[in-house]
């Protein structure tokens, strides 16, 4: 009699692995798709002009005659309020989900860089690890140290969360896909992110722990110092665009690299670098992560937090990557500009004002959103890459860098831009010339970089690039 062992690859096992993969793909693409489409649909439609047309259209669908322009002011305001509330809710969710997915992406990238396998248990490629972590954090005990300042300790995470959530209002996802096209858009962003400092300081101080206090002090010094070069660097594209509004800054750029602000101004590269470094510092990212320097301060200002409050800090830190990248893309890298589709194309597709736009316009919006997201993800990847490559700099070196190098550099960039703008006003070709030259230089640098990378990989005997183990 032969007793056959069941083969380890039983059909049920491989089927469930495939099931997991499908579920991961479905949710991994589905949730962002849902959120993006919600933003796509709701952002333009929650503006007062189009809201009326939407309600009318809805009414026609249901066979009723609804004309919001004839309603009382209160009713119109209520309608506007509801639509804006829904959009805000969607944006908040978007922030949370993008934060979680950034965690996943960062952990996968870092594991590849470190020759590790990385997350691979919860979902295909470990995609749902962030969900598992969030759930775990929710179930943890919510400890508030007895000696901590009771009110401030509990309030601090919310400052940070508010400072993070409010930025999504002014992020330009697409040509008309912005929750509120404030005419002081970038100024609003800078001021709202300053709330995060308040949250960090409160966290550090109210924890009543020396290590937390250390971290809070360091972080406050860092973020406040780096606001200066960031602000100065932001002034460069503002000067070039002539406006503080996010959409206007993007409209003044073009879709092609030689039309981006980072290239059309010879000093744009410097301004971009100063801005990039300052954003890293404001987001407490390595090489500027002294406030959370693990090997020195355990978790810095977060040491005493647990459970959901910790989750909020975590969420904000990773969600900030998206915000940082989005702002960098907006200011310097051309935003959502679509190649071959200038403002006339958008206007033509728009149709008459007051009526719902046609499908062509929606299609263009999708393209612009896709371009924006792609560029943002690229810059986000840069930030993640820098984190896992560079060591941390020391507090006094960080202050040196800010005040001795970045601030003068940003000032120089600002003054140069003033003069450059005068030149461009006289000689409009100068901007294009600078753009083309710098694009060619950037392309050359990229090619050299990639070639050197390939050579470095070849140099280590026995190493190979291994993309299995997903």
């Amino acid at each position: 009699m032969t007793a056959t062992l069941q083969s380890p690859r039983t059909p049920s096992r491989s089927r469930s692995a495939r099931g997991v993969l499908l579920a991961t793909l479905a949710l991994g693409f589905g949730i962002p798709f849902l959120l993006f489409s919600a933003i796509l649909v709701l952002s333009p439609l929650s503006k007062p002009e189009l809201l009326g047309a939407v309600v009318q259209g809805l009414g026609r669908l249901l066979g009723a005659e609804w004309d919001p322009s004839g309603w009382s002011v209160t009713a119109q305001l209520a309608l506007y309020g509801v639509s804006v509330a829904v959009l805000g809710f969607i944006l908040l969710n978007f922030g949370a989900v993008v934060s979680g997915m950034t965690v996943w992406w960062e952990m996968r990238v870092s594991s590849r860089m470190q020759s590790r396998v990385g997350y691979n248990r919860v979902g295909a490629g470990g995609f749902f690890q962030w969900v598992a972590d969030a759930v775990k954090l929710l179930f943890k005990e919510d400890l508030v140290p007895a000696d901590a300042d009771q009110i401030l300790f509990r309030a601090a995470p919310y400052f940070v969360l508010v400072g993070f959530a409010l930025t999504f209002v002014a992020l330009p996802f697409g040509e008309s896909l912005i929750a509120a096209d404030l005419n002081v858009g970038i100024f609003y962003l800078v001021s709202v992110t300053a709330l995060v400092v308040v949250g960090i300081l409160l966290a550090g101080w109210s924890s009543n722990s020396k290590w937390a206090l250390f971290g809070g002090m360091r972080s406050a010094a860092q973020v406040v110092s780096y606001e200066i070069p960031a602000g100065l660097a932001i002034l460069v594209p503002v000067l070039m665009a002539g406006s503080l509004s996010m959409q206007e800054i993007i409209r003044q750029q073009g879709a092609w690299p030689w039309q981006w602000f980072v290239f059309t101004n010879p000093i744009g590269v410097l301004a971009f670098l100063v801005f990039f470094v300052s954003q890293l510092a404001e987001g407490n990212r390595t090489p500027f992560d002294l406030p959370e320097a693990e090997s020195e301060l355990v978790a810095g200002y977060l040491s005493e937090y647990s459970s959901f409050r910790f989750a909020l800090y975590f969420l904000v830190e990773f969600g900030n990557l998206w915000v940082m990248a989005a702002v960098a893309v907006t200011l310097f890298l051309g935003g959502w500009q679509v190649p071959f589709a200038g403002p006339e194309v958008f206007a033509a597709a728009r149709g008459p004002a007051g009526a719902l736009p046609g499908l062509g316009w929606w299609g263009l919006q999708v393209v612009s959103m896709a371009i924006f997201s792609a560029k943002t993800l690229f810059v986000l990847n840069l930030i993640v890459w820098v984190r896992w490559t560079l060591p941390r700099i020391r507090v006094d070196q960080m202050m040196d860098l800010c005040w001795k190098y970045l601030v003068p550099g940003a000032f120089a960039a600002f003054v140069f831009t003033l003069l450059w703008q005068i030149l461009v006003a006289r000689v409009p070709r100068a901007a294009l010339a600078s753009g083309v030259v710098l694009t060619v230089v950037a392309a050359a640098v990229a090619v050299v970089f990639l070639r050197q990378t390939w050579r470095n990989i070849k140099l280590v005997a026995g190493d190979r690039v291994d993309l299995t183990n997903w």
Binding site: S115, S295, N456
Partner: protein
């Protein structure tokens, strides 16, 4: 301990007294520092050791000569071969035992491989303490291969119990030599990649160069040994200057810190000397494998080891410096006194006097660059 410091502190100003440890995220073991800071700048950092004291020296008086060998692994579990070798050499001197050449060569090979593994941990954790997480994992990946090789050799990845009194426990397996040589081919190029990744990184150099400088006289006076001593400019290596075992047959360089990017004796020198030492160890392993003599791996050792009354000291160049075993015998089969002198113990002693004026981040760099492991300090 804190009470002692508090008495001496002037309570004006913004001084804080903090406990740095004993639970460190940095993997130097269980050590505590009582740190008195004024803002970011330290006034004093007093080490508080003893959390890992396992009374190994007392155990040495109980378990008998061969029985103590596994305990020596635990003296320094990051580079355990050296501890094994030190004890074996001390007892062999007491017994006036001649170790066969093949065993000595095997000792050299296993020790040098362990030196590479230990230095990988050292530079890796140092990079991690400075904030770069990736080099640690690259180093640990290489160390995994070494662990696998040594596991093929002696069955164990961390606490080897490989060197025995009179020789080594096992011979090389088949094809082990080829595997080691293949690993070394890879490793030599890996070191260059590691250098490109972190050693010459501007931020890393700024963090380490000219930080916590220990001059040569200070190093000798405070009893620093090994790479710490060499980084301070003192050209001394037991393997070359007072050789033992198979080392007279090998040609290798001894890297000395000459202020690669700063002053001789700063943290970067201590780091870079270790990187260079790994390259030298790789050369030694190659030479040893090539010139490995045939023969037995173990001398004729009596069943019941009962040396004549006397005492002997053995000095070994371990990964952390000069490790000395001082064994006193009273004629019975149990040692009368076993004393382990390890390099990390005196390295801790210097921290208190070097620390005033450093910043907290520099203290981390200093501790990491001295490559202390808690089991050696506390035994």
């Amino acid at each position: 301990m804190e009470k002692l410091i508090l008495r001496r502190v002037d309570r004006s100003g913004e001084e804080m007294i903090l406990n740095f440890g004993p639970q460190h995220p940095s993997t130097h073991g269980v050590i505590n520092f009582i740190v008195e800071t004024d803002g970011e700048v330290l006034k004093k950092a007093v080490p508080d050791v003893g959390y890992l004291h396992r009374s190994l020296e007392k155990i040495g008086e109980i378990v008998g000569y061969p029985g103590f060998m596994p305990f020596t692994d635990r003296v320094d579990y990051v580079a355990a071969m050296f501890a094994n070798e030190g004890y074996a050499v001390a007892v062999e001197r007491l017994l006036k035992l001649e170790v066969p050449p093949r065993a000595q060569w095997l000792r050299a090979v296993s020790c040098e491989l362990t030196r590479i593994a230990s230095h990988l941990i050292s530079v890796g954790t140092m990079a991690m303490d400075i904030g770069a997480f990736t080099p640690m994992l690259h180093g640990v990946r290489e160390r995994e291969t070494i662990n696998d090789l040594i596991e093929a050799l002696c069955g164990s990845r961390l606490t080897y119990n490989y060197h025995r009194i009179g020789g080594v426990a096992f011979d090389m397996p088949e094809e082990w030599r080829d595997k080691v040589l293949r690993f070394l081919d890879h490793f030599d190029t890996f070191l260059q990649e590691f250098d490109r990744l972190i050693s010459f990184n501007e931020i890393y150099i700024r963090r380490l160069a000219n930080v916590a400088v220990i001059t040569g006289e200070q190093a000798i006076d405070y009893g620093l040994v090994g790479p710490n001593l060499r980084a301070s400019g003192v050209d001394w290596d037991l393997r070359r200057d007072m050789p033992y075992g198979a080392y007279p047959s090998f040609k290798f360089g001894v890297p000395v810190g000459k202020g690669f990017f700063g002053v001789s004796g700063d943290c970067f020198d201590r780091y870079y000397v270790r990187i260079l030492e790994m390259a030298e160890s790789s050369k030694i392993v190659r030479q040893a494998l090539e010139s490995m003599p045939d023969g037995e791996t173990m001398a004729k050792v009596p069943r019941n080891i009962k040396p004549e009354p006397g005492e002997a000291i053995s000095r070994i160049e371990s990964a952390r410096g000069e490790m000395a075993y001082y064994v006193v015998s009273d004629g019975t089969n149990k040692a009368y006194r076993v004393r382990v002198r390890a390099g990390s113990f005196t390295a801790m002693g210097i921290i208190e006097d070097i620390s005033p004026g450093l910043m907290v981040a520099d203290l981390v760099a200093l501790i990491a660059s001295l490559d202390v492991v808690a089991p050696e300090i506390d035994r």
